[in-house]
Amino acid sequence: MHRRIVAFVAAAVLLVGAGLAAAQGPIKIGISLSLSGDFSADGQGFQNGYELWADQVNASGGLLGRQVKLDIVNDNSSPDQVQTNYQKLITVDKVPLVLGPFSTLLTKPASVVANRYGYAMVEGAGGAPSVFNRGLKNVFDVALPVINDLDSFTQYILSLPPGQRPSTVAYATNDDPFTQPQIERSRKLFEAAGLKTVSYQTYPSETTDFNPIADKIIQSKADIVVAGTFMPDIVAFVQRFRQQHYNPQALIATAGPDLGSQFTKAVGGAQVAEGILVPNTWYPGADNPGNAAFVKAYLAKFGGAAADINGDAAEGYAAGQVLQQAVEKVGSLDNAKIIAELHSGDTFQSILGPVTFNSVGENTAAKAYLFQWQQGQYLPVYPLAAAVAPFEYPKPAWH
């Protein structure tokens, strides 16, 4: 009997000890990313950003004194797979925290799964209106709400004196929830100001042959072109416009030209990219706190040039920063408390700039920049306070 009690006590001590050791182990953070499929370029950018953030946290003492370990799984850019992934991360891997996937398309289903288990989902790439209008209280996007992405561009165009202002606009957009609302909004703003819509096309995201769409834009002879694209479609448009000698005064794409040398190589060199515009929420030279250190760490880990750093990496890093600050403020991994803190109206600091969430999770403090390719460099040109070069307008003819 006596021996039994000793054995029992010993076992209990061992078990408690093991439990304590587990509590002191690394904090696993579950993330699903598009490492293959349509969004693989962006997914890779996010992975780099998340990894750098984890490195930085671990180098400076960890989160609540514990190391951070990322549990990243691939969703192949599929809205179905992303649900399975978060389900598995939360219920099987039992991660205490999650961070968001890439793109609005995947953030929507992912945040529903996270919500089911009461998890906060801080993310940097699910910013379209359809993310925020579903009554979810657990989704927080650190980037600029997507619907406002093109605002810097419309403001610039409408600020031009009447003699220079374009009079016709062609729009073409992928039917993706990230691109379409932006294009719709810029059309409304331009039409209200008297700019005529001469072509408006929506195409399915599965489209592989973009020539007929480009041809319709060319035929419209629009003064400026607003394209709701990702990388493959804007590259195809540029190629077709060049072949057909169509030179709009301005060409802006919602995404694609922000991918640095990957974009310039695909269109056929930096001289071809000259004058092409893209909105974004971050650039390597931004003077937000911690940004310079982020750029330095990025180059040290992944190499390349500062201009090639993908904005996605910064958004991933910023999502990590905001989650970290919320966890540290509440002092625990309790997701309910973390969600309450994120909704408190507190301002968090990130390399994208200040972050304050409204009741649906949009960052109301976010900054919008307009970028232009000029002589092989990707430069902020608007708003004027952030501009490092004058806006090149009209866009020069194709090289």
Partner: protein, 291 residues
């Protein structure tokens, strides 16, 4: 009207690229009764080979085919010997799994080697156009079209005017009977697979010079290629040619006169109508084939 003419021209010129890729697929099915779902991945592999030659050895894309097509031919013969020939029963069904495995292997290897960043190949003819009246025809499409005409003609000559071609056609009509009259069907199969893969190399170069691609592009491609050969009739070379052009023309015209949203839908509706009226496809044979 102007737009429709543009769309038809674009459809014909880009249709040639799909014909190149689909011919290999339908040829392999015709002779071997197997569906090579790895064709899309092989096309992308061909595109990357051309890209490598251009980037590192500065070999022109079209000239590079002199190297890439024989290499891909050898690869095809090797793949057939290693993976297809050992399948002794349920060839048609099992070959889908085996060739899908090949596709995944190729995709994985390409992703590791080249990453999943999108690539597009460039040359003077990619950005310059020929001006005819008020139309601009991009040189790359003209060259791609000529390439497909030349290769289709060469294939026609090989099939109809050589001893190997006679053996191939015999194997297409009846594999067992061909064996009985002394044709080395296994050799014919290996060479056919090689030719199919070599055509994928040419198609890949043509595709990569007109579209941005990465290793995942194989999925888009294989689904379109399968549709082309189903519409044309599985195993029919003429069918692949007609359906390849037909698909691109229908899609491009629908896209400009109606909307890009309807482009694929209209084409697939046509496909359903054709299959209801002719279940064997436009040029397919009705009777089931025998091994």
């Amino acid at each position: 009207m102007r737009l429709i003419v543009d769309a038809v021209i674009t459809g014909v010129l880009s249709g040639g690229i799909y014909v190149l890729m689909a011919l290999g697929l339908t040829l392999i099915f015709g002779v071997m009764d197997i569906i090579n779902v790895g064709q899309g991945a092989l096309v992308i592999l061909g595109a990357y080979l051309s890209y490598l030659l251009q980037q590192h050895l500065h070999i022109d894309l079209f000239v590079g085919l002199i190297l890439t097509m024989p290499v891909m031919f050898a690869l095809g013969v090797g793949l057939e010997a290693a993976f297809i020939r050992p399948i002794r029963w349920e060839r048609t069904t099992l070959s889908i799994l085996v060739t899908f495995a090949i596709a995944l292997l190729i995709q994985g290897a390409l992703s590791l080697t080249f990453s999943t960043n999108l690539v597009q190949m460039h040359a003077w003819y990619v950005s310059h156009s020929l001006k005819i009246g008020s139309f601009y025809l991009a040189w790359v499409y003209i060259f791609d079209f000529l390439l497909s005409v030349v290769l289709v003609a060469a294939l026609y000559v090989v099939l109809n005017h050589t001893k190997f071609g006679a053996g191939l056609r015999a194997s297409m009509q009846n594999r067992t009977a061909a064996q009985l009259i002394g044709i080395d069907v296994e050799r014919v199969s290996a060479i056919t697979f090689g030719i199919g893969v070599a055509l994928a190399a040419a198609g890949g170069m043509a595709y990569g010079a007109t579209s941005a691609f990465n290793p995942n592009s194989q999925y888009d491609l294989i689904s379109r290629l399968l549709v082309i050969i189903i519409l044309g009739g599985m195993g029919s070379l003429r069918g692949a040619v007609v359906a390849g052009f037909g698909m691109l023309i229908v899609e491009d015209v629908t896209s400009v006169v109606w909307s890009p949203v309807w482009a694929s839908t209209v084409f697939y509706m046509l496909l359903v109508v054709v299959l209801v009226l002719r279940p064997q496809g436009l040029f397919g044979r009705l009777e089931s084939r025998r091994q």
